[in-house]
């Protein structure tokens, strides 16, 4: 049985979708390798990865049958392909006004705030894909002990730079927006600037590490 489907979505898009919604680390690496191969072909308006899929936007929609075959072939060729991600290190001010949900979350999880911060900063995350807001990277995977559902009532305004968690993911809000994730801290690094040639700091597949700020309210 095939591990994926590849189909036309609308007239202009081809979606390559894995059967599993939870790709193994090997499948994830292959997806990033395939994304980068497809981006380098220059044959598409856009190549949009998600957690377990890649969608390409065709410049010539009539060619869709050829591309459906070709993408499937490329997936098999990516078996051995390597993928070298860029690593970003972000300083985070945790807790207090910077992370208004930190103390209540520490309570819910029965963890001292200090341990919660250490746990959050203990993992190297990977940008699974970008979405929701320009430059908003979905970073996986959060340690099990920190996995909580989204907030029941979303905030109408999450400040720019907020470092947040929900379910198995963490993220940094590149701009202020409504949002339902739990806010742990603030990161001052700009993530998205539409006037730059390369507007997003994070790219699919990149690695991200969080470093608790010395000046942070809870990290002394």
């Amino acid at each position: 049985m095939s591990d994926h489907q590849c189909y036309l979505l609308g007239e202009h898009a081809i979606a390559f979708v894995l059967e599993t919604s939870n790709p193994s680390s090997n499948e994830q690496r292959r997806l990033f390798a395939l994304t980068s191969t497809l981006m380098n072909l220059g044959a598409f308006f856009d190549v949009v990865p998600a957690k377990s899929s890649i969608t390409v936007y065709l410049k010539t929609p009539q060619d869709h049958p050829i591309w459906i075959k070709r993408i499937t072939t490329l997936w098999h060729e990516c078996e051995m392909a390597s993928f070298k991600p860029t690593t970003h290190r972000f300083t985070v001010k945790y807790g207090g006004d910077y992370g208004p949900d930190l103390s209540s979350l520490a309570n819910t999880l029965s963890l001292p705030e200090k341990d919660l911060i250490e746990l959050h900063a203990s993992v190297t995350y990977q940008v699974e894909f970008l979405g929701f807001l320009p430059g908003f990277g979905y970073l996986g995977t959060l340690p099990n002990a920190l996995q909580v559902p989204r907030k029941k009532t979303p905030r109408t305004r999450v400040p720019k730079g907020s470092v947040a968690i929900a379910q198995e993911l963490t993220a940094i809000y590149p701009s202020s927006s409504p949002g339902g994730w739990h806010l742990l801290g603030i990161c001052d690094t700009p993530l998205f600037n539409p006037s730059l040639q390369q507007p997003s700091l994070l790219m699919p597949g990149d690695h991200v590490q969080f470093i608790p700020s010395k000046g942070g309210l809870c990290s002394q």
Binding site: Q5, L9, G131, L133
Partner: protein
């Protein structure tokens, strides 16, 4: 300049959209009716993609502070120049001090206003469209407000009167079958095609949520994947959402259908409580429909060129 006297419900600078940045979470934006943008520009011998003002539900008023040829297209929001009625699909000439107003209408939601040479707006990420959610592009990354001044190069002389037939706005929307129908309860797609849907009050530039008396609820889930304008999501409550230009770049609801590119413009005029029906077509029929629209544009461009001295 064009000065905004009354901002109305929602007026924004749009072109035919921002493409190539979905992988960074940047949506398409752009006019909900790209054909109306192109016709408005053709009427003024502009490049097809010059930015225009998309006027939503009227109640907006503008003052020209210099003379200019302009055109209006899209739905009939009862536009008036100094109180004299104007009609969509025509070009006109305004003198400095003239007042252009748009009102409400039962069967129209959006009109488009173009000026000769286009509004002078900077490109951001290869487009002049306003990304209202992310707050960049267009005029200061936001909807127009009272007092805003939109620059253009003034015209001394009026062009001859010229009109164009706009393709009809109907409420019969052609769709392609979506990829997740086999995950939904049996017969969901057929039910979707047979149902007379009503556009709910939750309709804006991000999408239109539809309701009906008889909906099919479900528990099907999919992993988030890339979505785009025209995709019709089918949430568990069975009330479809037609994604429009300001939609997010990924979504996690099953996709029951996609509106064909030629017909997505119809949603620019479907407002709250209006009904619509979906008709299933093949991919080649979808391509053919788009070709037909493009040849309508090409024929007008050709005729217009032949009329020029």
């Amino acid at each position: 300049m064009l000065t905004v006297i009354k901002q109305g419900v929602l007026c924004s600078i749009q072109d035919t959209g921002r493409h190539g940045y979905r992988h960074l979470g940047v949506g398409q934006s752009g006019a909900l009716d790209p054909i109306a943008v192109k016709l408005a520009n053709l009427l003024l011998n502009n490049d097809l993609n010059e930015p225009v003002i998309e006027v939503t539900i009227g109640l907006a008023q503008f003052e020209f502070t210099a003379s200019i040829n302009f055109s209006i297209t899209g739905g009939d929001l009862r536009a008036k120049l100094n109180g004299h009625p104007l009609y969509p699909g025509w070009r006109y000439f305004a003198e400095s001090g003239d007042i252009l107003s748009f009102s409400t209408s039962h069967n129209a939601q959006r009109a488009y206003l173009a000026v000769r040479g286009g509004f002078l707006i900077d490109n951001v990420l290869n487009a002049k469209s306003t990304d209202i959610q992310a707050q960049f592009g267009g005029y200061n990354g936001r909807a127009l407000k009272m007092g805003d001044q939109l620059p253009f190069h003034a015209d001394k002389t009026p062009l001859p009167h010229l009109g164009v037939k706009q393709p009809d706005y109907t409420n019969e929307v052609r769709v392609l079958k979506g990829p997740h129908c086999d995950k939904l309860p049996k017969g969901s797609f057929e039910h979707f095609l047979q149902t007379k849907w009503l556009v709910s009050d939750m309709n804006n530039r991000m999408g239109s949520r539809l309701t009906a008396n008889n909906t099919v609820q479900h528990h099907a889930t999919i992993a988030s994947q890339a979505v785009h304008p025209g995709v019709i999501q089918y949430p568990p409550n069975g009330q479809p959402i037609v994604l429009l230009n300001d939609c997010q770049t990924t979504g996690g609801y099953p996709i029951i259908a996609s509106v064909i590119s030629a017909d997505l413009r119809l949603f620019s005029q479907l407002g709250s409580q209006q009904s619509c029906k979906f008709i299933g077509v093949s991919v080649s029929q979808a391509h053919h429909a788009m070709k037909k629209l493009n040849s309508h544009l090409a024929q007008f461009a050709l005729a217009n060129n032949n009329n020029k001295e």
